[in-house]
Symmetry: C2
Subunit: 449 residues, 2 copies
């Protein structure tokens, strides 16, 4: 066994979630508490986040349980009483989840997810929820930047080989699609999530044939209207001429070459030269796909230079969010039976209480977010946190991935211009606290001293 299903990831948890829970159980401390999951601060190179991963988080909360064989393993650790293990074996999540819908823009400090449940249920879920939501949010946010850079051109997730393990390749493909990718090369992600698949060919394929033309011909005949030919194994311009030659030859068999891919070298002049060769041969309809260590910065340069390109293949940089490969996601106790809670550790303070985030928009553009207490009245804003689970049951069904992706692309359209830039402008968007929230912070600070 090496991967398990999200719906039964009960042991995918930090040991301390279980030891703390054992202590709560021994103390009969299991009253309802609220935990907020949020990203403290955006990485330097991120101006916004795209909320993502809720679907898998809800699946985990509604399905996960400790199976008998898992309880048996825990018993071997010599840490837990039989009573606690018996309790764990019956544990089900019975709480409430409020969350910012997937695909929506969010900012540092804003709760992406807020869990209200008996203390132990809420505590044990911490590790998985952080892993699931933080990773997908990171990748969707990166993909959204690639989408902004790509403008009206498509981009495809080519990352599976460089992703951090198998689950990252799956959830990463999902998050990349939500953030704007048009397809993925990952067949399993295509199957699980219904994401369109895309693929070309490898250099080794070309090298396996007598010569380039033979390789192109074989591929064209195998995929009559869909073949994408890799033309940089030997020499890009010669490769383009070879593609033209084969396209002409196969046209008589009713076969059309769909595109050519350039994966190395100086892409801008090469793409221009290739476009010229294709156009002069009458193949204006053959697309050009560019790939090879691309990210949003490189893509923006290519787009700014007016390079002729139809789509981009983006791998490593997208699937690992390589320029910001971690998000500081945290899961903090903000209320319990005694009321709102605050944490004061140096640089790690939290905002107390059950909260709501209101977004103010004007003429189709986001103006500011106001973080307020849940019950506080804040007029004129749209509330972002929605109820996703009540009494352990999902509220409403799963959203289709296309709906989530549409929400993301619509949200990107509402971003202020400064935030659409690839350059750091994160301070440009105001996320302010309501009067009642500020007042509560003051009171809570006073009490905890």
């Amino acid at each position: 066994m090496s991967w398990v299903d999200d719906a039964n990831a009960s042991l995918l948890t930090d040991l301390y979630e279980l030891t703390m829970s054992a202590s709560y159980f021994a103390q009969e401390m299991n009253e309802v508490a609220t935990f907020d999951l949020f990203v403290r601060e955006l990485p330097e190179r991120r101006n916004f986040l795209v909320a993502c991963g809720l679907e898998q988080a809800l699946n985990y909360l509604s399905e996960s349980r400790f199976e008998a064989n898992e309880i048996d393993y825990l018993a071997t650790l010599d840490l837990f009483t039989d009573d606690f293990l018996e309790f764990l074996s019956k544990l089900r999540f019975t709480g409430e989840v409020r969350a910012i819908p997937e695909g929506e823009i969010a900012f540092g400090g804003e709760p992406l997810l807020s869990v209200t449940a008996p203390l132990i249920e809420a505590q044990i879920a911490e590790t998985f929820l952080l892993n699931c939501i933080t990773f997908q949010t990171m990748i969707a946010s990166k993909a959204a930047r690639v989408a902004l850079a790509s403008g009206d051109r498509r981009f495809v997730d080519f990352s599976p080989r460089r992703d951090h393990g198998a689950d990252a390749a799956l959830k990463g493909a999902r998050a990349a699609f939500i953030g704007g990718a048009s397809a993925t090369s990952n067949v399993l992600a295509g199957r699980i999530y219904g994401i369109p698949l895309s693929g070309t060919m490898a250099h080794s394929y070309v090298m396996a044939f007598e010569n380039e033309a033979e390789a192109f011909r074989a591929y064209g005949r195998c995929f009559p209207q869909k073949a994408l030919l890799l033309i940089d194994t030997f020499d890009v311009e010669e490769g383009a001429r070879r593609a033209v030659e084969v396209a002409r030859e196969l046209a008589s068999e009713g076969i059309r070459i769909r595109g050519v891919r350039i994966d190395s070298g100086d892409l801008a002049p090469l793409a221009s030269a290739v476009r010229k060769i294709l156009d002069e041969a009458g193949f204006e309809d053959i697309e050009i796909i560019l790939s090879g260590d691309l990210d949003e910065y490189r893509i923006k340069e290519l787009m700014d230079d007016g390079v002729p390109v139809d789509s981009f293949g983006v791998g490593t940089q997208l699937g690992t969010s390589a320029d910001a490969p971690t998000l500081g996601g945290v899961y903090k106790l903000v209320a319990d039976k005694s009321g709102p809670k605050i944490k004061l550790s140096a640089g790690k303070a939290t905002l107390p209480g059950r909260k709501q985030v209101y977004r103010f928009e004007e003429r189709g553009r986001m103006q500011r977010d106001v973080m307020a207490l849940e019950k506080e009245e804040v007029r004129g804003g749209r509330s972002l946190l929605e109820c996703a689970m009540l009494d352990g049951q999902r509220v409403g069904g799963s959203e289709t991935l296309t709906d989530v992706r549409d929400r993301c692309l619509a949200s990107l359209d509402k971003l202020p211009e400064t935030l659409r830039s690839l350059e750091p402008h994160q301070d440009a968007y105001p996320v302010v606290h309501s009067k009642d929230l500020d007042e509560l912070v003051r009171r809570a600070r006073g009490q905890s001293h």
Copy 2:
């Protein structure tokens, strides 16, 4: 479904592996070929790699197959003929694998794995093998740096919440242990791989009680000899005094507090102050665990400053290899029925032929590596690539994780001093080509023009 088992990750593949294979099948091209998996160049901040991930790779190769429901999915893509799908459904890996054993030091350009098999079997495995080996090698290499920085102190993998998905949390814990971590907080990794588990408590735990002393007391009673208390929720020095108070109180019940953890603030002076408080109270045996955004650089500073510490908790930076979150792993055709193969794309050239890597050591220190042809005689060196699979069957059993970890730690001891530094010195270690390999490169370059 969202995660699947490594042993059946057949669809976790780039679409082009399948389309190329379909074309090979149509052309009846399925003769034996050799592919090398290697990292082209080390990231700037890495002086060496620790080979890792072979166990899961072999498991995949020996067990993976296309199940009927997977074939059904592929049929819906409208890309493949019935004959090819029928062929896929019967496909088993029947080839040979040579690899550098897990835990061994390796360098850029050296084959970590070399697959010799009928072309289609070798091709289809590319995506999974790269994903599996590159990720674990990246994390084991990062962990080895943390081990070098930590000297004789222990460090624990605290990364699951920040890892890229669930599989990264599992395989990352495994790779971190091989690279030198003494334990992980990840319960599922403990179960699957038998890695020792470690955990303390969260700030929310302390906050859930009336006061800090209550929290410490409850935890101490729940885990009589094992309790690690988090002392920075309010004020670190006060927390330390509180821990002393509770340790004294519980001592009369036969309970011993094992350690205290500091997770925020200026760790060096805080640890010194805490050590003083503990020692003056007669608790020289209470350990100090430091955590909070640690990496090998921070740990080295703390160690250089002589900060009193027993172990480090390392999370985000370890589990994501945050300063070098990608490794440029590639899988290249190096030989087929026509002989050695070479690729000439700009900046992406490959070394042709089946190869062996010989390591020369003197007085217990590595001196240089020589990359040679497999059949070439190179005297005085130890050959690194070993046969791991023959005719699709594993050669020898699985190694224990402890054996692999011991190999890694022994290899680290043999590193030249310059490479043990955290600063970039990767050019300091010579990886040279044998005469026959150089000669073959010259000949192959000539032929392919």
